[in-house]
């Protein structure tokens, strides 16, 4: 614990209002059939994407809920172009020309090249989040990164990290069973949880344990696997090693434990038959069959999805009305992920008013979502990739400094906000991180950040222009809040924004309308522009500084 954590960890005292008995809902997975308007679209988009942009909200409002879910979950997303050598200006890569991808290049053990490649990867990943399409994919990549954790700082070479990242993306909406199998032999994971040193002569239990505790069975009330099960699983997993030449893995039958592995009553005393030679690898299939035969796996994954996408409190009603039926969907669909997400995001429960606006944005959602919702311009990915990477790298540091370091969750359990009782999401907010959030939004709406020779800044006029009627101060306030907030604010607050900010204390709406029209009629007139600009800046700064903005 560093000093600041030490100082801040206990400053958040219990609020005075008693929330021990908050209103919860009995609703379940019955498909939602209520209103499909801005409030519902932004609710769905803010949870499944990084922020709800005006363009996306308008787009999906013209569709049905079913079409929206289908597009968000089922649309085929092309595999992104891999990260490139963006660092040649500072350090030349002996194997990779500038602008070309390094992901298949040989590992460079000396010097700084590997770190530069890793930084390139993390920047690139951040760029994918910023440039995400109308698909839940990138949010699911983050979800799975928090589930199948590896820590970038512990892993060489960068090529392994790319393989890991590509694996998350390829399987994010795929089949969970395939996913677990592939992650088990992924070179980054083999290094991270010591699968690469797990050999017959000296089994390493690390991966065998986490595979059960964190990746499949979990630690829910019905999780009853034993220490012997950990040992048995470790034996099944002997003989694998990461491969520095292919950035894949090798299986060495000579180092594989060929004895039969007997599991506990929790697994119905299953015996995974010891196999020799190349067949030794097949034991992994038998192990995963055994693990995934447990209903607890689906329950565990569904609880985790729930805590990530809906809310962290799972009461008895939610467990029986949402988690259990969702787990059934998961199992009935042979562990395909898409049907589970479709059922959850189509449900009455998800759209229940009691489940809206209750997620505290994680730092990536906060920072990336802010840029996306305001449509902040970044350097062009293809024509100006060096500066694009610089800007993405900056955005990576923004959420990192707010305690969510992409690529480096604090430990194998992921970010505490998704497992640490009783605070969960509240752990994102403390006296260090909240001022950082405010400072970031304040700077973005003021002068912005100059990175890579390009300014990253909110253009509030451009944003307001995308709203239906920016010349009407009442609608401008309402429509801005409709995009930026999920929780309702009082008429007082709306009036305050209008009167004190847009009207500079005047009571005549027409003053704003005139100012806006003057600007629109002559956008090149700087005086007119500044009148509108300064007031919009003040309004959006205020909106983002309120605690309401932290909620999704």
């Amino acid at each position: 614990m560093d000093r600041r954590d030490f100082l801040t960890s206990f400053q958040a005292k219990a609020p005075e209002q008693d929330f021990s008995q908050i209103d919860r809902t009995l609703s379940g997975l019955t498909p939602y059939s209520g209103t499909w308007g801005t409030a519902e679209v932004t609710h769905l988009l803010k949870r499944t994407l990084f922020g709800a942009t005006v363009a996306d909200v308008n787009y999906f409002k013209s569709k049905t809920l079913a079409q929206t879910i289908d597009e968000l979950i089922n649309a085929v997303v092309a595999e992104p172009l891999p990260p490139v050598n963006n660092y040649n200006d500072t350090t030349a890569d002996p194997d990779v020309p500038a602008g070309e991808t390094w992901v298949n290049a040989a590992h460079v053990k000396t010097g700084n090249i590997n770190n530069l490649r890793t930084n390139s990867l993390l920047s690139w990943w951040t760029g994918l989040q910023l440039n995400q399409g109308r698909s839940i994919t990138e949010k699911m990549v983050l979800f799975w990164h928090n589930h199948f954790v590896t820590e970038t700082s512990n892993i060489n070479p960068a090529g392994y990290l790319y393989k890991y990242n590509a694996l998350l993306r390829a399987n994010a909406l795929g089949n969970f069973k395939d996913f677990v199998k592939q992650i088990t032999v992924n070179p980054a994971m083999l290094v991270y949880l010591n699968g690469n040193v797990n050999v017959k002569a000296a089994p390493d239990e690390n991966y065998g344990r986490e595979l059960q505790e964190l990746f499949t069975i979990g630690k829910g009330p019905d999780s009853k696997y034993t220490e012997d099960d950990v040992k048995a699983a470790a034996k099944v997993l002997t003989g694998y090693k990461d491969d520095l030449t292919t950035y894949g893995y090798t299986f060495n039958a000579a180092k594989h434990d060929t004895t039969d592995k007997t599991f506990s009553a929790f697994y119905n005393n299953t015996v995974v038959k010891g196999l020799t030679g190349a067949d030794g690898e097949k034991e992994l299939d038998a192990l995963l069959d055994m693990l995934l035969a447990q209903n607890e796996v689906a329950m565990f994954i569904c609880r985790k999805l729930y805590r990530f996408f809906v809310y962290y409190t799972i009461d008895a009603a939610t467990e029986s009305n949402v988690i259990a039926p969702l787990a059934t969907v998961f199992r009935n669909n042979n562990y395909n992920i898409r049907p589970v997400l479709a059922a959850l995001f189509s449900s009455e429960h998800f759209f229940d008013s009691l489940n809206r606006a209750c997620v505290i944005k994680n730092p990536i959602d906060f920072s990336i979502g802010l840029c996306r919702e305001y449509n902040v311009a970044f350097p062009d990915t293809t024509t100006d990739y060096v500066n694009a990477y610089k800007a993405w790298s900056f955005m990576y540091t923004v959420s990192r400094d707010m305690n969510q370091e992409l690529g480096n969750p604090p430990n194998v359990a992921g970010w505490p906000a998704y497992y640490q009782e009783p605070q969960y999401h509240e752990l994102w907010i403390n006296s260090d991180t909240l001022p950082k959030r405010n400072r970031f939004s304040d700077t973005m709406i003021a002068n912005g950040y100059t990175k890579g020779g390009k300014k990253i800044v909110i253009d509030p006029i451009a944003f307001a222009t995308t709203l239906p009627e920016p010349r009407d101060p009442n609608k401008l306030v309402a429509d801005s809040l409709g995009i930026l907030y999920k929780i309702d604010v009082s008429q007082n607050t709306r009036d305050y924004l209008k009167t004190q900010v847009l009207l500079s204390g005047q009571s005549t709406d027409a003053y704003w309308t005139t100012a806006w029209d003057n600007y629109i009629n002559d956008p090149t007139n700087n005086t007119n522009k500044n009148i509108v600009l300064s007031r919009l800046k003040a309004m959006y700064k205020y909106i983002m500084d309120l605690s309401e903005y932290q909620l999704s």
């Binding site: 958040a12 609020p15 209750c358 907010i429 304040d442 607050t493 500079s504 009148i531 300064s534 205020y542």
Partner: protein
């Protein structure tokens, strides 16, 4: 002082802490002149506020439907030609007591008649032909505290540089890079800490999380504690104020008085009163001494008077200078809807123990037959007022004043010259926020390395515990300027918070260190 006492593992600590007693040692000089800016939003009708008795015929001719009856105009001691609006009895009294300065016809060349543009001009101190995106007070505060916000709060300036009550993000407080002010109307911020107003949180998961975030926001705002501490120190204020909720300007000024008296070192406060945009029904046609504008001026007078009484009551009146301004005055000729349209120059009021009392400037020269476009020409550029305040009240060197205002302006006799403070205070302020002392590791177990920067000559490094007891003196001698390290071995000392205090000439800085098991 931002102090958040709490208890962990049985010992108390103070976040952001530096010891109050140590600060008291360092900053005993009177460096705390305060400027209170009162913005009258909408464009105050100067001609019905300060009335040219020497041109009464032209005055009534130009605005017969709203002109104040000559016999109703309040007289000012020693001033024959000029009177004030009948609603401003309090101001009249304070003027006669020698605490008010009226400056006639303040404006600027080529005035703007747009509320927004004119407001921006007044706040930024721009020419009407240029646009500035920083405010004049923001630039002054940036001049005084160039490191802000890095390293703030600190012992030199433990409190907000500027506090704005009743509005948000005033351009006036915008510095070259960041806004130098704190708004305390923000519902998660200071205003609510004092008054407890914000949207209620519903009894839902969303309400629970919202309340949690608000709680953290309040607790962790670097200045929350200093502001509430200051407010809480003042239990009694002058009874001169009107009932709460009846005069928002008075309510705001009451908070300002409370915060100043509570010990905040904040330099600038901004408050405002809206509603001056009286295009119609400015007066009661049956009695031009009453009506909308009279009510507003009555509030200004009542609020300012009560505030001045309170400053006296709280024994801080010699620290405070107040100033009113509005984005423009109004047309000389009234319109047919018993109101006035957007105009140009208008009078300003300055108040405080140190103002040079009286009326500065002549009454505006009114045409015998004013037409609808006639405006009051400026006698004084508003930036001359700003510059004179900076020079005479904040004691900014005249060469530096033009840097803040970005041009040279006339120096006017507004404030008594004896009000200035030593320039050494400015030299300290300029370095405030620099980290002169750090330690690592922190928290530490047995010992920690203290790194400090000395400008040379005598340098003292002491360790205090939370009770203010001197635990060690690590060094006490002359150094060449540079960065040095010393080891603080705390073996045998209890766990808890320790303060390393560096003293070097004018500068002193305190570092909070935590010993853990």
């Amino acid at each position: 002082m931002v102090v958040m006492p709490s208890l962990i593992n049985g010992f108390s600590f103070k976040a952001y802490g530096s010891l109050p007693l140590l600060n008291a040692i360092a900053n005993s000089q009177n460096s705390d002149h305060v400027l209170v800016l009162i913005q009258l939003n909408g464009g105050n009708d100067g001609l019905n506020t300060v009335i040219p008795l020497d041109q009464y015929a032209a005055y009534t001719n130009a605005r017969s439907n709203i002109a104040i009856a000559e016999k109703s105009v309040l007289k000012l001691n020693g001033v024959d030609k000029t009177g004030i609006h009948p609603a401003m009895t309090g101001i009249q009294q304070k003027f006669n007591d020698g605490k008010i300065k009226i400056v006639q016809s303040v404006g600027y060349p080529k005035p703007s008649f747009s509320h927004f543009r004119a407001t921006d001009i007044w706040l930024s101190a721009a020419d009407s032909t240029e646009t500035l995106d920083s405010g004049w007070m923001g630039r002054y505060l940036d001049y005084e505290y160039p490191n802000y916000p890095t390293g703030y709060p600190n012992s030199q300036m433990p409190d907000p540089l500027a506090i704005q009550i009743g509005s948000i993000l005033s351009l006036g407080l915008q510095g070259p890079d960041v806004n130098m002010g704190m708004s305390i109307t923000d519902p998660t911020n200071f205003y609510n800490l004092i008054n407890g107003i914000q949207d209620p949180a519903p009894n839902t998961a969303a309400g629970k999380e919202l309340t949690f975030i608000r709680t953290v926001a309040k607790q962790t705002n670097a200045y929350a504690a200093s502001i509430t501490d200051a407010a809480n120190k003042i239990k009694t204020q002058s009874p001169a104020y009107p009932a709460a909720g009846t005069n928002s300007l008075a309510d705001q000024l009451k908070i300002v008085a409370r915060l100043i008296a509570g010990g905040l070192k904040t330099k600038v406060y901004m408050v405002n009163l809206g509603g001056f945009d009286n295009h119609d029904n400015q007066v009661d046609p049956a009695n031009t001494s009453i009506g909308v504008h009279a009510t507003l001026l009555g509030k200004v007078s009542e609020a300012v008077t009560a505030f001045m009484e309170d400053l006296k009551f709280l024994s801080i009146s010699d620290r405070v200078l107040g100033m009113t301004f509005s984005e423009f005055g109004r047309r000389i000729k009234s319109n047919s809807s018993v109101g006035t349209d957007h105009g140009a120059a208008a009078p300003m009021f300055l108040f405080g123990d140190h103002v040079i009392p009286g009326v500065l400037g002549d009454n505006p020269a009114l045409p015998a037959n004013a037409n609808v476009n006639d405006n009051i020409p400026m006698q004084y550029d508003f930036r001359s007022i700003y510059g004179s305040i900076l020079e005479e009240w904040f004691c900014v060197k005249s060469a530096d004043v033009s840097n803040v205002l970005l041009k040279n302006y006339q120096s006017l006799p507004l404030v008594n010259a004896d009000a200035c403070v030593p320039t050494s205070i400015h030299e300290q302020n300029v370095r405030a926020g620099e980290t002169l002392i750090t330690n690592y590791p922190n928290p530490f177990v047995e010992s920690t390395t203290i790194q400090f920067e000395t400008a040379g000559e005598h340098t003292l490094l002491q360790i205090f515990d939370t009770m203010g007891k001197l635990v060690r003196t690590l060094t006490d001698k002359a150094y060449a300027s540079g960065i040095y390290t010393l080891e603080f071995d705390a073996t045998g000392l209890g766990t808890g918070t320790y303060y390393a205090r560096l003293q070097n000439g004018l500068f002193q800085q305190v570092r909070t260190m935590i010993k853990v098991q």
